[in-house]
Subunit: 357 residues, 2 copies
C-alpha cells in the first residue's frame, strides 16, 4: 500500500450490493448480513492516511442483491431506499462522496438477466429513478458529494443529465467511466467528450479509468464482462504504450478546469477487473512504467517547489498548483491549502511570515 | 380536395418560420410580414369542413427565420416566444393543436448551418428549451393539445421525453415522425417503437408518415433533404408495395390503444417534400392503390354499419368503433359520438330511441 499512498490521495470502495462474479464478494449477498464492519475498517484505514474515500455504487442493476427478485416492485424500492439510508448514514464522516447510481442509460433495458433494479427502473423511468435515489442520499448526508456515473458517453447520457438537472436532481459531479480495454480513446475523443459534458458547468470526475499494458480486447465484445480468458499478460511493449497513454490522458484531464477527480480502476494487475493488465503495478508488485510516469507527473510536474525570501514586509509571493502545501522555514513546518477561491493566505502568527498568492 | 375530404378528417398546416427551400415559402421569411391571413383562410376552410387542424411547428432549427442571426441570444429567445404568442393566440379556436417544438434531439448539435434556434438551444439545453416553449404555448392556449415531435425514435428521444415529464413539461401527446423514404420500417420495428414509447402512457401521434410508391432513397443518405433528383417517378409495382405497406402500418397503428392520430406527410405527389412519390394520389390527381386501400380501411373496415330493432324498452345495443355516428330512423337522422369514456348514450327525446353501448 505504500506504493499506492506514494502517488494517490483518493480511493473508491466497493459497495456492490450482491456478488460481482470473479471480482467482488458483495456488500449484502445474503439479506440482513451486510459487510459494514469490513468496509468501515477499510474506509477508516484510508481516512487515517488522508485518502478521500468514495463509495461505489449505491444503486446498480449489475451485481445487485439477488434476493430482490423475490419481492414486489414496491418492496424492492423500499429495500433500495433503506439500503441507501443504512450505508449513507452509517458511513457519514468516513465516506462523504457517493456514486449514487450507476449506468442508468441502460438500466431499464438491461436484458442479460432479470434483476430487481431494472424492474423498478422500468416502472419509475430513468429520471424518476435517479430523482428518488438522489433525494434519499441527500437526505441522509446533506453535505456529501453525489455523482451520477455512466460508461455511456454518447448524447444519451447528455440528455439524461439535462433532464435530471431540469427536474431538480442535486447532481454534484458528473461521473464518466473510461474503461479502455478495447483501445485508448485518444486525445480527440477525450477532448470531444470533455467538451460535450462541460456544457453543464458541473465538476467532472473520471470515475473508472482503465488503460491496458497487454493486448487489447477485440472490438466486437459488447459487455466487457463477457471477455473471459485464462491469462492476460502484461508485456514490455504494451507497458510502454500504457505509460504514454496514461501520460497524455492524465495531462489532458489535469488541465481541464472542470475535471476534479481521476480514478484509475485498478492499482494492481492482481485482482483486476476481468483479469486485465490494467494496473500501475504488476502481479508481483513491481512497478510498471505507467506508475513511474504518473508519479513524476503528480509529485514533480504538478507539484510546486519554490524557495523564496520574504520582502521587507515579511511577504512572499509565488505561483503554484492548487492543493496542499507545506511551508518550511528553518525547523518549522506549517501546512496550508491553495484552492480556487483562495485570495491571500495569512500565516502571520505561526512563522511571522505571510504568503501571498 | 374532395378526394382528401372523402378519407381524412385531420390536417397539418405549415408554420415554418422561414423559407423551406424547394418546399415552402415560410410564415415570416421577412421580419414583420407574417402570412397570418393566408394561413387563417386555410385553417378556416378546413374547420368549416370538420377537419381538425394542427399547426407545425412553432419552434425548429431548420427553415427558421434567417433574420434571427442578426440578434443576440437574449433577443432570439424573446422573438421566438413572441412568435409563439402571436400564432397561438391568433389562431386559437381555429388551431388548438400544435407541434410546439421539432427535432430537439439534434437541435443543439445541428451543424449544417448556423441558425438562431440552435444557438439558444445550446444555451438553454434541450429540456430547458422545451420547457420554455411549452410554457409559453400553454399560457397562450390552455386547452390546446401540445406535442413534442421528432424523427429520432431511439433511446435518445425516450430519455428526452422522460426528462421533460419529470421536469413538469405539459406534453399532451408524443409526436413520432416516420418518413420511410429509405424503406418501410416493417411491423417489427413499428411494434418495437410503439412498445417503447407506450411506457409513458401518453397519447402517441404518428405526425409525419411517408411511404413511397417509387424507388427507395439510398440508405447512406443521412439528412433526407440532401437527396435531390430531377424526377422521382411513381411506378405500378411500387404503388402495389406502397398500398400493402399502408395497409399493414395503418392497421397496426389503428388498433394500438395509445395512437390517437396518424398523419400522412403528403396527400399528393404534386408538391411533395423532396419530390418523393409519397402521396396517395399521383401528380395528375389520379388515385393510387394506397388511396383505395386506406379509404376501404377507414370508411368500411373501421366503420360501424348496423341495422337493429329496439327492444320492448326502446333500447338498441351494438358494438362499434369509437367515433362519430349517425342514427337513422325513418326520415330522422341524429348524430352522436362514441368515445372511450362513454357509457350509455341516450337520445330519448329526439327519436324515442335509446342507444346502449
Amino acid at each position: 500500500m505504500d506504493k499506492f499512498l506514494d502517488v494517490f490521495n483518493f480511493a473508491t470502495l466497493p459497495f456492490y450490493w450482491g456478488v460481482f462474479p470473479d471480482y467482488w464478494d458483495g456488500f449484502e449477498p445474503e439479506k440482513g448480513k451486510p459487510r459494514t464492519k469490513e468496509l468501515k475498517a477499510a474506509a477508516q484505514w484510508l481516512k487515517e492516511r488522508n485518502v478521500t474515500v468514495k463509495g461505489h455504487p449505491l444503486v446498480w442493476h449489475t451485481a445487485t442483491a439477488p434476493w430482490l427478485l423475490d419481492m414486489s416492485n414496491e418492496e424492492i424500492l423500499k429495500a433500495q431506499l433503506a439500503r441507501i439510508e443504512r450505508e449513507v448514514t452509517g458511513f457519514k464522516g468516513l465516506i462523504d462522496m457517493w456514486d449514487v447510481i450507476n449506468e442508468v442509460v441502460i438500466m431499464p433495458i438491461y436484458d442479460k438477466y432479470d434483476n430487481g433494479i431494472t424492474r423498478i427502473c422500468k416502472e419509475l423511468g430513468r429520471v424518476g429513478m435517479i430523482k428518488e435515489m438522489f433525494a434519499k442520499t441527500r437526505e441522509c448526508n446533506p453535505g456529501a458529494t453525489l455523482l451520477l456515473n455512466d460508461f455511456n458517453t454518447s448524447i444519451n447520457y447528455e440528455i439524461l443529465i439535462d433532464g435530471c438537472l431540469q427536474a431538480g436532481v442535486p447532481i454534484d459531479a458528473i461521473g464518466i467511466q473510461s474503461h479502455q480495454h478495447q483501445g485508448y480513446w485518444g486525445h480527440e475523443k477525450l477532448e470531444e467528450v470533455l467538451n460535450r459534458f462541460s456544457h453543464f458547468g458541473l465538476p467532472i470526475h473520471f470515475t473508472e479509468n482503465s488503460l491496458l499494458s497487454g493486448h487489447l480486447m477485440p472490438p466486437e465484445i459488447g459487455d466487457l464482462n463477457d471477455y473471459q480468458i485464462p491469462e492476460w499478460p502484461s508485456t514490455p511493449e504494451d507497458e510502454e504504450r500504457q505509460a504514454k497513454e496514461v501520460e497524455e490522458m492524465y495531462s489532458i484531464l489535469f488541465k481541464h478546469p472542470l475535471v476534479e477527480a481521476i480514478s484509475s480502476w485498478q492499482f494492481s494487475d492482481d485482482g483486476a477487473w476481468i483479469g486485465a493488465p490494467s494496473g500501475f503495478i504488476r502481479k508481483d508488485n513491481s512497478l510498471k512504467p505507467s506508475y513511474k510516469v504518473l508519479k513524476k507527473l503528480i509529485k514533480e510536474d504538478w507539484s510546486t517547489n519554490v524557495c523564496c525570501k520574504t520582502d521587507e514586509n515579511g511577504i512572499i509571493s509565488f505561483e503554484g498548483f492548487l492543493g496542499e502545501f507545506e511551508l518550511v522555514c528553518g525547523d518549522k513546518i506549517v501546512s496550508f491549502q491553495l484552492d480556487k477561491d483562495a485570495e491571500n493566505v495569512q500565516l502571520v502568527n505561526l512563522l511571522q511570515t505571510d504568503v501571498l498568492v
